[in-house]
Amino acid sequence: MSEMYTQQVMDHFTNPRNVGEIENADGVGQVGNAKCGDIMRISIKVENDVITDVKFRTFGCGAAIATSSVATEMVKGKTLDEALALTNQMVIEKLGGLPDVKIHCSVLAEEALHAAIADYKAKHGK
């Protein structure tokens, strides 16, 4: 670990928010694979196009856990359009930065969330 994690990363890593899986979720997205050492699964509950609940589970390094945790926090209570506008750059900013070699973790967090929303839309014919 040659590069430093910020305090925000360590905070989310140590006390991850919204851990778990929503039963009867409206949408579930999973990205990454075990071979590469990162898997993120995000499940969402949607009412009137608003994400009323969101949970995650992550297999991966400190940055993978922190980015998925902060991403769930950032979209909870947001509309689907607002959530779709979330980019990995916003995740990085919220965490006060990420080491270069960990940027891909923020991309996975964005992709997992978008996959969950896509799953919701597919299931609900939108």
Partner: protein
Amino acid sequence: MHAMSTTKRINMDHAATTYLDPEVLGIMLPWFTENYGNASSVYAEGRTARQAVEDAREQVRAALGAKALQEIYFTSGGTESDNWAIKGFADANQRKGNHIITTNVEHHAVLHTCQYLEKKGFEVTYLPVDHEGRVSAQQVADAITDRTILVSILFANNEIGSINPIAEIGKVCRERKVVFHTDAVQAVGSVPIDVEAMNIDMLSLSAHKFNGPKGVGALYVRKGIRLENLIHGGAQERGHRGSTYNTPGIVGLGAAIQRATQDIPAKSARLAALRDQLINRITGEIDHVIVNGHRTERLPNNVNVCFRFIEGESLLLNLDMLGISASSGSACTSGSLDPSHVLLAIGLPHEIAHGSLRLSLGVESTQEDVDRVMEVLPGIVRKLRDLSPLYADYLQQKNA
């Protein structure tokens, strides 16, 4: 990384490095200050420094059971020793053949050097190891051809601790008249070594792995073996390695190797008992654990396990926050996308190799250190598994 707590830190990463023995430091200090002479100078200050260098050379010779002082060369560490042994030998002996035999679990100092030589036209055989990370003398014998000039096989694995049958391999190489180099960086001070009895022709070592200073090592080269120089530029080491003598470092290496090789059986027995206790408690108290490496032909200070469903770096961060330093072969800690080549070579799938943890003990390790690790490790693994989608899937399948 983050604010360190005030609790006592526990080093469980001695395979990475060790602290400098204060006694050794005390012996080194005058060679920085009052006796600062260049060991190559002809006047009194130089001669004093040179005598200290030669005394250290004798300490290294004695520790390895080498015959002659001229067989010991001082270097900047294990990596340089490996580079010099392999590249220097290949350069000087290519008219005899172009084939080199090594293993697929070497330290990168050997592996990358061999890959470099492949680009220069040498042929390299990377012997596959068994599931415990070892090669056999028979494998070496079968791989030797009339073009083979060098066999380079590590003494003990830095990641999983498995010890190779070095004396048997040495015997095969001697019978077949092939030069045998071993990277013994992890073994010196942990395992008895005798270059004569084991038929070792070249051996690399590094001082900071046995409570000596960083930045200094040695290469043993049996008399009669020709190496091209790696470092050009001076008459030091009888013209074989330029560079002003690092007198304090060399003095420190000599003092450290003398201490480290005294009473190896008693020291190793104490560490092996702590090692086995750690392995038994980890496998007893935590589910879904795989122990890597050979159970008995193993460095007395090495524990290496994989925890299924979790990833190594997050494990290390949690241990670090609780004051424990350890290491892992996960991709995130190796700085690449793949987990450690050693864990893959012993047949572990990627997803399991990502969850590896190496705990390596040292001279100051205590029962309290082991107890502290076992106090926190099961909880950390549980916490990370609660976060893991792989573990959730496993539980669901199990209960289905």
